[in-house]
């Protein structure tokens, strides 16, 4: 069940209606839990035992840890949780990948070992809820988070349906306190939640799926080499598509949660207005980047152990961050490029002479453009179906190749206009929140935007597509 479906809208209205009934808080939390498991089972009912297993194991481990004072005594329970979570994630997400690579490795060594392939199906959202649950067990181990008051609270925290399958990844210390007191959305929250849901769907359906996806598919899935124009258009369109797709999902998730009175953290903050890569990762998929920072980069030593170690920590963090996205070497390359960018940025900032480009605005614009350009290069590996295809597209981007476009001229123009509009918009409001931007618009224009968004959502001829990040 995806947000951009009629079945979800029916589900949402039903659950919200029941949630508004004058029931005890525990009963309404139980309703959220049942609804969340139903939501998850709608993807594939066979995956629900895995979600339940993760929840039960982490509940037991954290309960035991909470009773023990000494970190050393808590360690076995932490290891149990880590082994269970990472074991499941490793098996389901990386099983096929490891097997294929082992076979290739053996073949390159002359061993013709051809076992039956495992054909493991990846459970939806496992990367997201595993990281969410893991953050809780690690926080309990560290003593930086109080244990959940009941199994029901913890189970709702792990499975809360708005963010279950594609984030934002929520921390227990932010979410569990919200379960302590009965919650209902205020009028302001309900209205804002519905508006966020509407604008999230607009981003997904109208911009990502109807406007940009056809251009991306026509270029990246073409069987032949692309012209330079198509290679650039496809890549720029994908940069915008993946933003609207993922940010659209996050916006919907935040909006839906808000309709139930819950607050979820922001996941995107105008990422293409980032001036540099540290800035980019504080604006793009914030809940994942902050997770990697808090549970991987800083425990590895962060930037506290000298320059070489800092660079090594950055590389490890970004390479694993790349691998988190998918079991494919292309994602490792994607993470590796971001690691290289982050390291390079530190060197550039360190060496940058004060006299060069002293005008702050010009420097900012240059940094934003350069960051966007370099980010686009990484998207080639993210989207291309193989290394060969990625190499071919990069070649077409940088070696002039004048051929008629594979894309309909009007679609191509529309896609480029959307990309340009996205960049100009994000640059213009780079330090403002969505709430500040919305509050600054006259009421009549707000009403017009709502009407237009709703109309275009209903009227756009679109092929329904799942969210890109569901595959992760």
């Amino acid at each position: 069940m995806v947000f951009n479906s009629v079945s979800f809208l029916i589900f949402f209205v039903l659950v919200l209606g029941l949630y508004q009934l004058a029931l005890p808080w525990a009963a309404r939390k139980a309703l959220l839990l049942v609804a969340s498991y139903y939501f998850y089972a709608a993807f594939n009912i066979a995956f629900t035992p895995i979600l339940l297993f993760t929840t039960v194991v982490d509940w037991i481990a954290t309960n035991r840890m909470a009773r023990l004072d000494h970190p050393r005594a808590r360690l076995p329970w932490l290891l149990l949780s880590l082994a269970s979570n990472l074991g499941l994630l490793g098996f389901f997400k990386y099983g096929n990948f490891l097997q294929e690579n082992a076979i290739r490795l053996l073949a390159s060594a002359g061993v013709g070992y051809q076992p039956a392939l495992w054909n493991i199906v990846l459970p939806a959202g496992i990367s997201f809820y595993t990281f969410q649950s893991l953050s809780y067990t690690i926080d309990i181990y560290r003593g930086t988070c109080r244990p959940a008051r009941s199994f029901l609270d913890f189970a709702v925290f792990v499975s809360f349906f708005p963010q279950l399958v594609a984030g934002p990844i929520v921390r227990a210390k932010d979410f569990l306190p919200q379960l302590d007191v009965p919650r209902r959305a205020t009028g302001a929250q309900l209205a804002w939640g519905l508006l966020l849901l509407l604008f999230g769907l607009f981003q997904k359906i109208v911009l990502a799926d109807a406007t940009l996806a056809p251009v991306v598919n026509a270029t990246y899935d073409a069987a032949t080499r692309l012209s330079t124009l198509d290679a650039w258009t496809g890549t720029l369109a994908f940069a915008a598509q993946i933003f609207f797709d993922f940010a659209g999902y996050s916006t919907c998730a935040i909006g839906v949660a808000m309709c139930f009175g819950f607050a979820l953290p922001d996941n995107f903050r105008h990422p293409y207005a980032a001036a540099g890569f540290s800035d980019f990762w504080q604006r793009w998929h914030i809940s994942l980047s902050s997770w990697l920072r808090d549970y991987l980069y800083i425990p590895l030593g962060g930037n506290r152990r000298g320059l070489p170690r800092t660079y090594a920590n950055l590389c490890v963090t970004m390479l694993l961050g790349g691998l988190w996205h998918g079991a494919d070497w292309r994602f490792v390359i994607w993470g590796g490029l971001h690691a290289a960018y982050l390291c390079g940025e530190r060197v550039v900032v360190w060496l940058w002479p004060a006299w060069l480009l002293p005008w702050a605005r010009v420097r900012l614009l240059g940094a934003m453009l350069l960051t966007f350009f370099l980010v686009c290069l990484t998207w080639v590996f993210f989207r291309a179906s193989s290394f060969e295809r990625a190499a071919s597209i990069l070649n077409s981007m940088f070696v002039a190749r004048l051929r008629p476009s594979k894309v309909d001229a009007s679609m191509l123009g529309l896609a480029l206009a959307v990309v340009a509009g996205l960049l100009l918009y994000q640059w213009a409001v780079r330090n403002k929140t969505a709430e500040q931007i919305w509050s600054g618009i006259p009421r009549w224009l707000q009403a017009g935007l709502v009407a237009l968004a709703l109309f275009l959502i209903l009227a756009t001829p679109v092929q329904q597509q799942v969210f890109i990040y569901f595959q992760f």
Binding site: S385, A434, E435, Q446, A451, L452, L454, A459
Partner: protein
């Protein structure tokens, strides 16, 4: 970490929602009016203008074209379907040449041609899965797997169009429908004499389905005719296309093809078998010029993939150039001539589904 609710704006007054609703209606009502009045794809949701729609439907490469056709097949006809063909235009042509409708009688069986021009692998599979619940007496599926196209990412025009057809609101408000409406009313040959139902899709009567005479079942005769015929040489443009096929044919994508056979085809076959439905794989003919250009590695690859399919069910592989005494003759790089199409259809039926020899064999 910043939370989105920290600064939730003040709730808008009631007048805001009224204004938004009014503006929405201002946008939606004219679109709905035009779409309902023109009804470009003949969905007949309301009384509509008596204009001829076939030109648009035949010339426009719209996703709604096939949907409109499928949608007009009544459930009573679907109830009689026993065998279905699934694939792209090559399969569609095999069942349809020269003018057979989507559903026709074939001896004791009723064949449903679910193949759609330009269908990707995904689209074919999704269309079959969408139709399965509506075909209670299905006993056989001929699933065309043009191996070179399995790896190509799918578009899903027909299945999405069918969903659109089942969701009248989307059809009525759709900007795509509106574009087609304008295209239709801008056509210059809407003469009054051509009005009414002339070009519209005829309703199929379950009691009087067209029978095999519509498609010609003289298999042996057709094989003889097909043997006598000559393939049309490829035009320069088609030669270029053929070169493109050669490049992608079973080459770089073979790993993906294997994965899709494993992940999608095998489970589908299992599900169909569980329902008592036999599955036959059809590998459409390859133009001799394309086949000649394949290297030994590609041919070996092809054989390996066909062997994988054969482990799942019978394979009617026409890509080798000769099957059941039939050498396919082509009209262009991809499509076969009418006699070849007839012979392929009859041959597949006889070898896999013939219960009482419905065809004349000399």
């Amino acid at each position: 970490m910043r939370f989105a609710h920290d600064h939730a704006p003040d709730p808008p007054p009631r007048s805001f929602w009224i204004l938004a609703g009014a503006l929405f209606l201002l946008l939606a009502v004219p679109v709905a009016f035009v779409n309902l009045a023109v009804d470009p794809f003949d969905f007949r949701l309301a009384p509509h203008l008596p204009i001829v729609r076939d030109k648009l439907m035949k010339t426009n490469d719209s996703m709604l074209w096939s949907a409109s056709e499928f949608r007009r097949i009544p459930q009573a006809v679907r109830d009689r379907v026993t065998i279905s063909f699934v694939g792209d235009s090559r399969t569609e042509g095999i069942c349809r040449w020269p003018s057979a409708p989507r559903v026709f009688r074939f001896g004791p069986d009723v064949i449903f041609n679910l193949a759609v021009s330009g269908a990707s692998f995904e689209e074919s599979i999704r269309l079959l899965e969408l139709e399965l619940p509506r075909l209670p007496h299905l006993r056989g599926v001929v699933l065309a797997l043009p191996l070179e196209r399995i790896g190509v990412s799918g578009i899903n025009r027909t299945t999405n169009a069918l969903r659109l057809a089942d969701t009248p609101l989307l059809y009525v408000l759709g900007l795509g429908t509106l574009a087609s409406s304008f295209e239709l009313v801008m056509q210059k040959d809407l003469s009054p004499g051509e009005r009414w139902a002339k070009g519209e899709i005829p309703d199929l009567d379950p009691a009087h389905l067209p029978d095999e005479s519509a498609v010609g079942l003289d298999v042996a005769g057709n094989i003889a005719k097909a043997k006598a015929a000559q393939s049309t040489p490829l035009s320069p443009a088609e030669q270029k296309n053929a070169a493109m096929w050669r490049r992608i044919l079973l080459g770089v994508r073979s790993a993906l093809v294997e994965r899709r056979i494993r992940d999608v085809v095998a489970p589908l076959v299992q599900r169909l078998r569980a329902r008592g439905i036999a599955v036959v794989f059809l590998i459409p003919p390859l133009h001799p010029e394309v086949r000649r250009a394949l290297g030994p590695a590609q041919l070996a690859n092809h054989e390996r993939l066909v062997a994988e399919l054969a482990a799942l069910g019978p394979v009617e592989d026409f890509s080798r150039g000769d099957r059941g005494g039939l050498v396919p003759k082509f009209t262009d790089a991809l499509h076969v001539q009418p006699d070849t199409a007839h012979a392929i259809l009859g041959g597949i039926y006889m070898r896999n589904f013939g219960r009482s020899a419905p065809v004349t064999v000399r």
